[in-house]
Symmetry: C2
């Protein structure tokens, strides 16, 4: 019985649905073969089984806390940080030249998915260190790279991204932290940053904050925001470190992910906080977006991982709990019969299928984005690079949001399967339900992601990304149509592609007329609509792959494994794809009910 993740499904998605081995023909990944990649995945699973999963409940019960200017996390983190460093999880995807493993992104994400499903309170420490190190590698000077990156790779030092400020929230154009130039090669940083994940803990000797700040005299708005490396302790000339006036002043107490700290950091309260500019002045936001795009895919992946853990937790319960009886042909139950396991009740199966469809569908989308990322980085053709880059950009807000919003629904279904026990601390689903709620808020809320999807990604380059996606989807439809059993679903997907065109055709005139508020008013509904279709595409692709393996008798799983994928695809089309027409109707409404409403109406 899987406890939090199915490695079989993960490998099927990696190798069969998304053809990971094709990547290994590329020069960048030439050192890898299936055996070495499997060994990597298996070692991550062992680490997760032994070092992460056994502590998730305890981390909820004994949250991280703020004391005397420090964040104290669960003692197990000592072993986790050490183990993660040894496994090389921070630099797994980095170039060899930068001290990394040059692993395909698909396997990097697969590894984090396993770790996050085992214990979602942990891998953020790895991921944010990886993301901030990657920013330094991409845009920082050689000196910054040499000073910070090696210690981040083995987790001796942690890394964070510091964007949000109390008065600005999601509005990054209002960043007010200041950076005053000095003649000594650094700026003096002053300001407050909140909601800083992984901001501190007692098992890393230093933290490297990547901070958005405004250089004195910089333009207003996003065009005046620069990026700085601001360590908690700055390295001295004799290779020691000294406090850099970057104070942890508090921790946010949260309803979930309690083992994972969310800090408030005050930079420069004593006017002695030094920051080193990354790249050029006033380009901070565009640099940060590289990290944010990765972080968005990672956040979605974490949502899928939590939903996966909740799914297997409720599946275990459904397979063990006897309750009730089947109805006979008079619609009655026979009390002389033994009670049946609840997994035999159709409504419990519906709740389980719904979870399976969401978890595996969004995992497939995460791996799809990672696959595009791998193809972009490993391709030698500029045209191909652009193609995969545009596809990646288009899918990123969806990979983040579908996993968040539907992951919450999926986890709620896990709670429901346990009945009253689902609400009690003795069982895990309630914790996953609390944990996953943050996913729709992290790294740009669902509203922000939806504006990004419709307002930027769909319209960019005259809709080029959407055209490219349509080609990819049509390819899937074509392959699926070769199988009689899949034709119905392939046709449904094709109809939905047409519906996307119709919806966009209805909305675009508002943008062309300069009425952007109207154009974007229902962006979040559009996200739900378009995201469902994208996941429908992933499921058809998955079912095609399963069908092909069954036909060729070339899979290494039992037939029922592949049949379950086809069955779950049908479930998705019957219970989820049926929502798209209603959503399209809502988006195409002409009543303008939200934008016409005054605040007195509430």
């Amino acid at each position: 019985m899987n406890e939090y993740v199915s490695i079989d499904t993960l490998k099927f998605l990696l190798y069969n649905v998304h053809q990971a081995e094709e990547l290994l023909t590329k020069e960048r990944f030439a050192d890898y073969d299936k055996t070495s990649l499997d060994i990597f995945i298996d070692s991550i699973k062992t680490f997760s089984d032994t070092t992460l999963f056994p502590f998730i409940k305890e981390m909820d019960e004994k949250p991280s806390y703020f004391k005397d200017g420090k964040i104290i996390v669960h003692p197990q983190f000592e072993h986790i940080i050490k183990g993660g460093g040894e496994l090389g999880v921070v630099g797994a995807g980095f170039d060899y030249d930068d001290g990394g493993m040059q692993l395909p992104s698909m396997f990097f994400h697969a590894a984090y998915f396993i770790m996050e499903a085992a214990n979602n309170h942990v891998p953020g420490y790895f991921g944010l260190t990886a993301g901030s190190a990657n920013l330094i590698l991409s845009f920082g000077s050689q000196k910054l790279k040499d000073t910070y990156v090696p210690k981040m790779l083995d987790l001796t030092w942690g890394g964070t991204m510091c964007l949000t400020e109390p008065q600005a929230g999601s509005s990054l154009s209002d960043v007010a932290t200041t950076a005053s130039p000095t003649d000594k090669g650094y700026h003096l940083i002053k300001g407050q940053k909140i909601f800083i994940s992984s901001g501190d803990h007692q098992f890393s000797s230093n933290f490297v904050h990547l901070v958005l700040a405004r250089i004195d005299g910089a333009p207003k708005g996003t065009k005046g925001v620069s990026l700085f490396v601001v360590p908690k302790n700055r390295p001295t000339e004799n290779d020691e470190i000294t406090y850099n006036d970057a104070a942890i002043v508090g921790e946010f107490e949260k309803m979930g992910q309690k083992g994972y700290c969310t800090t408030h950091i005050a930079f420069g309260d004593n006017d002695d906080c030094r920051g080193w500019l990354v790249g050029e002045p006033n380009k901070g936001l565009s640099y940060m977006f590289q990290m944010m795009n990765e972080a968005r895919i990672a956040t979605g992946r974490m949502g899928t991982a939590i939903a996966s853990a909740a799914y297997y937790s409720s599946l275990k319960y459904a397979n063990e709990r006897p309750q009730g009886r089947k109805l006979n042909s008079s619609g009655q139950k026979n009390s002389d019969e033994e009670q049946t396991l609840i997994i035999n009740h159709p409504d419990i199966k519906r709740l389980l299928f719904s979870q399976k469809a969401i978890v595996e569908g969004s995992l497939s989308l995460t791996l799809q984005t990672a696959n595009y990322c791998d193809k972009e980085i490993s391709s030698t053709s500029e045209e191909e690079k652009e193609k995969y880059h545009l596809l990646l950009e288009l899918l990123t807000p969806i990979a983040k949001t579908y996993s968040a919003e539907k992951g919450i629904e999926s986890t709620s279904n896990a709670v429901q399967i346990l009945g009253g026990y689902g609400f009690c601390f003795d069982f895990m689903p309630q914790q996953y339900y609390r944990d996953i709620r943050i996913i729709a808020l992290y790294e740009g809320t669902t509203g922000i992601q939806s504006l990004d999807l419709l307002g930027r990604k769909i319209t960019a380059k005259n809709g080029k990304a959407l055209e490219l996606l349509a080609v990819e989807i049509q390819e899937t439809i074509k392959k699926a149509s070769a199988f009689d059993e899949l034709q119905l679903y392939a046709n449904t997907l094709l109809e939905n592609l047409g519906l996307v065109q119709k919806v966009i055709g209805t909305l675009m005139p508002h943008a062309l007329k300069g009425n952007y508020e109207r154009f974007l008013a229902d962006a979040t509904v559009f996200m739900d609509f378009f995201g469902t279709i994208v996941i429908g595409w992933q499921w058809l692709k998955t079912a095609s792959s399963a069908k092909q393996l069954l036909k060729d008798k070339s899979g290494n799983q039992l037939d029922e494994f592949y049949e379950s994928k086809i069955h779950t695809m049908k479930f998705f089309y019957t219970y989820e794809m049926t929502r798209t027409r209603g959503l399209a109707k809502t988006i195409m409404n002409t009543e303008e009910l939200t934008i016409s409403a005054t605040k007195e109406m509430f």
Copy 2:
């Protein structure tokens, strides 16, 4: 600014939409007029403002707990129990003859709605005492009435309902608690009951448990279940009380409603637990169903109340928090402008309207069921009594479930409006989000309610209840059609009524062929479908009423109050009623994906 409830909306629903004053012509309610009812509502609001609302956060932070065989709740309960007793909240709806206030059910529910919105950790103590006292009054002997009810009315003693057992859960035919007859007028009770809400606390000197148990030799299944009064302490001949071997052995630690205890009770561990039979042997379940039906409406009402509190909490934030700017006609923001309040963003308005539509729509349905209840009890015609009884029965599972499932969604929207702060303990929405999750589990899960709706209520008396409901809905459609502005929505509701017929027509043959599993496989999807249409009916009724008041210039609110109701109705039809066709398609699917699935597929 409303903090947790809008009394204006409540009174508009009571007096205008649901015509409460019509009831006052009935003999049963002849002592009441609008002034006295308003005074009652206002006194409940004052009690809630001063005694309940200020303590909800603390009750979450300092949960009730089990210690030395007792449940200890927050010290404020001392004042709450005293105040509730003085206000007469337990017996508000009871007959004068039974020591009650003979208040219309609509006002009883309105009062509890206010109290639950102020603090949902509290009114369960009142409600369960009321429900169990009512069971004794309805089916118990005069001796039982005299012994227990007066002390329950003033909350000197509390009351509970004890159904669930560890091995049985929702399957009441598997109740295993035993009742052995003695020749002394009582039975000896032995067994374990779990999830007993309001089971104990330090401020009531006794608890009166209404316990389902099986008399020795009783038939198997639900036909062998009897109902007993089993006090924690039994009255002695000299008017004192002595311990009755009904031990609190634990409390369930929960993710929400932490101030409200959920206990585990062991009856008869020392073979000295006496229970007194209520009514006839083996009829316990049918008696208990009276209480359960009330409890189901009450549970839905509580869900609506929590969602109301979350709505006003997020509305307050949206009205105070500046963030971001409006897009200009080039789709850009101007950083020189002041930030705008987030309530001006269309997506925030969408989240707020969605909450308002769910909260006020389901509150209206609660009052509709209460109105049918009042009409049933106050009518002198048997035919009318049956009519209202059938309507009440049909709407009960919907009133319970819509408020639960959509209330959860609504409360999640409140969290979302606060962004990252929504996840933090400093703000209320995260608490309401945790609190409300239980509503879909209490008193029969959503799955159980859905089986009840489709399997019993829709099919009962050859569909008589549904026919009666269709007449009521058509009456609303007719009234609404008189207003040009409402015709579109009236037509939509009419189309949806036709869709209900079509869906039921597709499902019924399965039942007629004895394939009940197939008939009921998608009962929960049917609940979502039918529930949405029922709320659409409530909204059209609400909008009609608002329109009439605007036309007659006879309302006591500003025009914008009534216009906001019409606007919210339009929102509901544009964003929610658009879901019904997709749901119908799912229900009418012919693939039988859940019932055909084996447990190996997961």
